[in-house]
Symmetry: C2
């Protein structure tokens, strides 16, 4: 075997992530590698922590990017906060709630499951009942924006319920951070993690996490060592600087160039203004929805709970959903996502996240979909989708 | 706070890693991000596995890059192979042996420690005695190339001892892979991990690991679930393809652009030829050693056990080692490393790894060091170091 340099095709990324990465971020990652203890790098790290705080809308001191993808940010929250024997209420309304359950079990914890249908938000009443029925529960874990279903749950209300009952809240914001309001301090969320490859439009590989004082105290009060050396927050923080002493010591070697990319992506978030980024995602989603409706194509999720960053689009009757995806990729280099688990074959997951949330993405995807659905003889109205979207985008 | 784009200084990296990254690798990381399930990406993944096999000199099917830095590769080996109650012989002759001990403990295992002085290799006799005294021991864990001391231990002999006594071998090759012979199949090593930011000269953030059949069987025979969801090899392999079915399923989102970089770096290893890369590291090390000797500056490690990739240079009497490092960085943008743990203040760690192992690096570092040591009035011979190095590099 003789391998050659790999030159990827240029895709338009409208799946469930990664999203399109801006050239500024790509070029930032190609800047010269320097040492992970270099004074210049340490200065960048401090700025990066502030940028993550801004994006999470928090003042939490314990705020860092975990040096691995979003799944490890999830694991970091669970292994640091859950000890053997702890019970944790886990809300399952999609794939990522199921993954949380796995995490609790692997920590030796006891999950108490609250199931809601895929496509529905977490039911607040069921959560309240579970909290009442299980006094002393250690944590309530839920997904703010379910990437597998396109559903937003009420994070503020869920965090408030947890706090009321003395439980920590553990919140997945992988598909919301940067794309819709994630307000960690306002919510009173205790431990929150995210990924970089969704609405922040950085390549995958890092996981921003933030712990408030209550969560940090819970880590300090542990009776047992964190089961992961790599994800042990007390050790990780010794490298990222704990703010009190300012001293830093080597833990693991940080992924230098990936952090350059995240820094640049978050500088761009700050330049745009986080509220403007939220508004942009909302408007482009609304335009896309208008285009789909004009075509007569439905969405899985009720309007109230839809994510602006991820649309779960119902596959019209008689359409071979996999063939549509393959053809879109071949003809237009356009990637959209398949349904997962219970929704496999029934929906497409069409992301409009970060750099992939623009008027261009909206109309390009609508017209490509219209062409494909016509070929598959789906019962749709043609010639109206992009106009409907444009009315939202550029109308009064 | 308003952050601006971060433009790092251009350093010459001769610390314990990261090493200088070749422009080909930097620019590979800036190529367009595509989906982690994109057919084009999947093809690249297969090629990457083959390239890692080549670099490890193995045919092991279970060979992948873990999506996080070297420390997580270490953790992947331990959490997959060590179950609660297992005893593991851990050889400690530096920082990374100590970290292995932490890993065993956090898996609920019982470490049996074999200590050797920092600066000495693992003592084969002590290991053999420990294996005899502890029948049924699950594994023998050791560091091939200790980054904290610059020592090479006899991996072939240690793996043979483990096999003889029915124990699995777990081998750290973070500072050896690509820079000196790492021959996984010839050694009969069972589980081996490395990092990317040393002799492969990729930015940090990934950890190549390889498990042979014996190790894979041990994972399959586990009585308990792997404590880490993120590092559970049976799940990770479902994404990287297990070779039998060829089917792939989503696990976590791979760090796409970082993998472009590793692919390019390993294409360069293949172009050079792994044996040629080993020979280059050996020759540049030998030249550097000749220059130091000519100056009258010593090395910590006996010649037989020295790493070509990392020199632990004894700080001459009366020299402020930290001031030397700081000044080298300020004047020349030249990074060299400090001593760790027991060696703090006593040695510099000067790496010549991958792209940082060239005649230019050798003579640049020697002349810069000579200047600094003269300023600090160290008792050295001046005017001879680079000549001595050049004689090795360019003599007959």
């Amino acid at each position: 075997m003789t391998a050659k340099s790999f030159n990827p095709p240029v895709r338009v990324l409208m799946g469930p992530g990664p999203s399109d990465v801006h050239p500024r971020v790509l070029s930032a990652m190609a800047r010269p590698t320097i040492g992970h203890l270099d004074p210049a790098f340490v200065g960048m790290m401090d700025e990066l922590k502030d940028l993550i705080r801004y994006t999470f809308q928090t003042e939490n001191q314990l705020t860092i990017p975990v040096s691995a993808p979003g799944s490890s940010g999830m694991e970091a929250c669970f292994v640091n906060l859950v000890e053997p024997g702890d019970s944790v209420i886990v809300c399952r309304n999609g794939v990522f709630g199921m993954r949380m359950t796995e995490n609790v079990e692997r920590c030796g914890g006891m999950p108490i499951l609250i199931d809601d249908d895929w496509g529905k938000p977490v039911d607040l009443n069921k959560v309240e009942e579970a909290l009442k029925a299980n006094p002393g529960v250690k944590a309530l874990a839920f997904v703010h924006a379910e990437t597998s279903t396109g559903v937003r749950s009420d994070a503020a209300a869920l965090c408030a319920l947890a706090q009321e009952h003395g439980a920590l809240s553990i919140v997945d914001t992988v598909t919301s951070l940067g794309g819709l309001p994630v307000e960690v301090d306002k919510w009173g969320a205790d431990a929150v993690y995210s990924g970089t490859q969704k609405c922040i439009s950085c390549p995958p590989g890092l996981s921003p996490v933030t712990f408030n004082e209550r969560a940090a105290e819970a880590v300090k009060a542990r009776k047992t060592k964190v089961q992961s050396w790599f994800l042990d927050m007390s050790l990780v923080m010794s490298y990222w600087g704990d703010g009190d002493s300012g001293a830093r010591s080597y833990h693991h070697t940080a992924p230098i160039n990936a952090l350059y990319g995240l820094h640049e992506a978050l500088v761009m978030v700050q330049e745009e203004g986080i509220e403007n980024a939220w508004a942009r995602h909302a408007k482009n989603h609304d335009a896309f929805r208008a285009g789909l409706e004009a075509m007569g194509v439905g969405l899985l999720v009720d309007k109230e709970y839809r994510l602006p960053s991820l649309n779960t689009v119902l596959v019209p009757d008689g359409v071979d959903e996999a063939a549509v995806r393959t053809t879109l990729l071949q003809r237009y280099n356009l990637e959209i996502g398949a349904g997962l688990g219970a929704l496999a074959g029934k929906v497409w997951r069409i992301g409009m996240m970060g750099t992939s949330s623009t008027p261009h993405h909206v109309t390009h995807c609508l017209s490509a979909l219209e062409g494909m659905l016509s070929e598959f003889q789906a019962d749709i109205t043609t010639g109206v989708a992009t106009g409907a979207a444009e009315a939202v985008l550029f109308g009064d």
